[in-house]
């Protein structure tokens, strides 16, 4: 009884905080919580163009959607799912690590004294301001086989390759979507890592200099460990955002009209196509729920690792 009163008293004390939180809470309830619950519920329904009229009263089929998505090799939604998963994994890993390393290298380069430092730092941010749909469109144009500038450079000017390769066809497509994504997102990594670098106290390097440490050792023993909070966050958000990447791929292939092909398809484009072009909302929901579960597992692993690392560091 006493405990309950105590809680009530505290809630009353913080009524102002609750008042401030109320609009957000309501918005989140209706536009985050409700749709997610619906999404999970819908994944148990047989929801296609015939039953969509009844919406939530559509036939409840338990785990049939999940069976279709995960285990039935001949279900229509399974077409291309394996490729999409494979591509998404490669894409996410390469893009996340790629943006991190490119960002780190450039951050180290611009974290020195040189002329026009502010201007050059700003110029390095340019790709990050280009909207992602423009990125997809622009690189789709640059990857064109015959007329694209990349092939013109590689073959006509530098003569690196004997023949112009297809970039938007076959396994090359994976590179054709990875490189633009890295190009678009590394400035953000650089920005964050640069802020992290500037927070590292100069004395550490001076002490290392006295001990006669090589730059290489200084990087691995001081810079990299001290940047851990930044790159850990970058890896976490990199994994989340890149797994859910959509714009660049959808704009690049067939210039927004076509199917990306088996090496260019990602989870999001796959689900989007299966949901809104085949009107298979139930299976689409089931696939997204599976994706969400996988993501929750990954994020949990990340937190475990991060917490352990923090504990070790003390």
């Amino acid at each position: 009884m006493h405990k309950k009163e105590e809680l009530w008293r505290r809630i009353k004390k913080f009524r102002f905080a609750y008042l401030f939180l109320a609009p957000t809470a309501i918005a989140m309830l209706f536009l985050h919580f409700l749709p997610v619950v619906q999404g999970i519920y819908m994944s148990f329904l047989k929801l296609d163009q015939f039953t969509i009229g009844r919406y939530l009263l559509a036939p409840f089929i338990w785990f049939e959607n999940y069976y279709e998505v995960l285990f039935n090799p001949i279900s229509p939604i399974r077409i291309g799912l394996f490729e999409a998963v494979r591509n998404t994994v490669i894409y996410t890993v390469v893009v996340t690590l790629g943006t991190l390393w490119v960002g780190l290298i450039v951050a180290l380069m611009v974290n020195r004294r040189f002329r026009a430092r502010g201007l050059i730092r700003t110029l390095f941010l340019f790709p990050w301001i280009v909207p992602t749909y423009v990125t997809g469109l622009l690189w789709g144009f640059m990857w064109q086989r015959g007329i694209g500038i990349i092939n013109v450079f590689l073959v006509d000017i530098l003569h690196l390759l004997p023949d112009k390769p297809f970039w938007l066809l076959g396994p090359n497509t994976l590179w054709a979507i990875i490189i633009p994504t890295v190009w678009r997102y590394w400035p953000l990594s650089m920005l964050m890592l640069l802020a992290g670098l500037q927070a590292i106290p100069e004395e550490l390097y001076e002490a290392a200099d006295i001990d006669g440490a090589t730059p290489w050792r200084k990087f691995w023993m001081i810079t990299f460990p001290l940047l851990r909070p930044v790159w850990a966050i970058l890896i976490l958000f990199g994994i989340i955002y890149n797994t859910y990447s959509f714009n660049i791929v959808i704009m690049m292939f067939g210039f927004g009209a076509g199917f990306p092909g088996e090496w260019g398809d990602l989870m999001m484009t796959n689900i989007f196509r299966n949901t809104f072009q085949r009107w298979n909302f139930g299976m689409g929901s089931a696939t997204s729920v599976v994706l969400l579960v996988v993501m929750i597992i990954i994020v949990n692993i990340w937190f475990r690792y991060y917490q352990k690392a923090e504990e070790i560091r003390g």
């Binding site: 918005a27 989140m28 619906q38 700003t122 006509d156 909070p229 994020v299």
Partner: protein, 603 residues
Amino acid sequence: MIKITHYMRQRIIKRIIDVVMIIFLVITLFPIFWMVYSSFKDNTDILSGRILLSRAENAGVEMAADRGFIYVCGADGAVSKIDKTSRKIVKHVSVKSMATSFALDDEYIWVVTGDKGMKQLRKSDLKKVGSFSYHLKDINVSKIASSVVIKEGGKLWLSLELRDFEKVLEFDTSKQKFTSVIDIQNELSPFQVVSMAKYGNDLLLGGDKGLLVVDLDKGKVVSAYPIMVGSITAKVWDIKLHDGKIYLGTSSGAVIFDLKKARNSKVYSSASGLISDHVNKIMFHGKYMFFGTNRGLSIMDVSTGSIQNLDKLFIPISSGKTSKEKLTSGAILSLIVDGSTLMLGTTAGRISYIDLGKGIPSDWFQLPLGHVLVKWRNYIDMWYNINFGLYLRNSFIICGITMLLAMVFATTAAYAFSRFRFPGSNLASNLILATQMIPAIMYLIPIYIMFVKITLITGLPVKGTFFGIILIYSAFFIPFSIWILRGFFAAIPVELEEAAKIDGCSPLQVFWYIALPLAVPGIIATGVYVFLTAWDELMFAWVLTNAETLTIPVGIRLFVGNYQNRFDLMMAAATVATIPVMVLFFMLQKYIVKGLTAGAVKG
């Protein structure tokens, strides 16, 4: 041997890193440069894989000799004044147009362009003394390929080489204005005028289907004659009057046309010794008649009718290139005789001299290269082809209101999180971060169906309205905004607020008068970031908007689906979509960088 000191090594390494950095900067910025650069290119250049901007064709389309000078007029709108004896350019002036045509009189050169109206140049110093626009409301100037003009007496007649432009404009040189527009709709319509001649009080118009006779008194077409050579309709490239006969240079040979009998009285085609049937120009000189064809030159003795072919003197070279091996090249577009020398203007911008007495090429002369073609028109064409104004407006409305709404919600919530450790604050903030893990498509499916359902039940439109999309966007950007704004509020010293509280301020007053003003930079930064993200959103906008509320990403996506080969327009659209966010970013760059990095470093 120089000993490399430690200091020198440091300097060298620094230089190397500088160079690597600059190279990397260039590579990084190249795609953006390429986007903007390609938006100024001609699409045919893009499709043929040319890297450089092309130049206007500098073919010599008109020549005239006058008082010791020769005036050579190029298709690129350039006029060169050439000294007759030294054969050097004395003066060169260009109005920078394309496929221009010219009319010359004793005092002036009239330059008729498709896109820039008509210009009047004085012959003596090539100075522009007049400029006249056509004031044509119902035609898309960007489509004009070329123009055609003749001058006789105090009047100029001109037409634009456009298939559905069936008008002839009359210009009075003494009144210095366009006096009338003659409609030339006729039984051969649509008719494209490519040549003209004055015939008594009539105007002869040659075009892609034949010959028109316009009575200038009545101001209309009195008769139309299709020109047939064999069974082929011939395009009339040139009309010349000689000895009361009408000579036509056509795409199927030269034709003498009898107006009274309305038929060809004589045809000179490849069978009669002309190698190329495509006759661009006809000229009479003494007893000779010259045919400037697509492959070279043929000369006919008018009295005997025997044709001598000089094509072997010509080696075809492509436009803009120079070849020193042979003296003449390309298709012949203009001819004049000056004394005993024949001058030929060709497509490759080369003027060739042929000694008429000996019948051999004697000299040549290369016109300056045409101006670089920067196609600003792509940006205008883009607005013709996509409803870009609407998309831009929609994007601004949606992103702007979203930004405001999300900021109102997120500021209050972030303040509550940063100042109070109320029961459930940890859970709430974790939940808010957890929303970032949910794939957007998982919301999209229920929200899409929900919107459709709401409309079905209540009759209120939700899907496809600004209201619906703004609501969704605002809700989605709240979590991330809270995350960034918390950092800003945390950075504001609590002591200030405590002092205000002691002075008797209510919590609301503390928030409004103390915390909020101090957090304004952070709010601006977050707001701009929300704006940029909303500007970039494609998936929700694709599903939840309709034709009236389309945003730029969806508009561009639809556009590229429909015009797959119009890379020039695509790049123009991409550039226009990028510029607003770039401007916004650079105006507020400091705040944004600070805001984002503050959140990151704190974790």
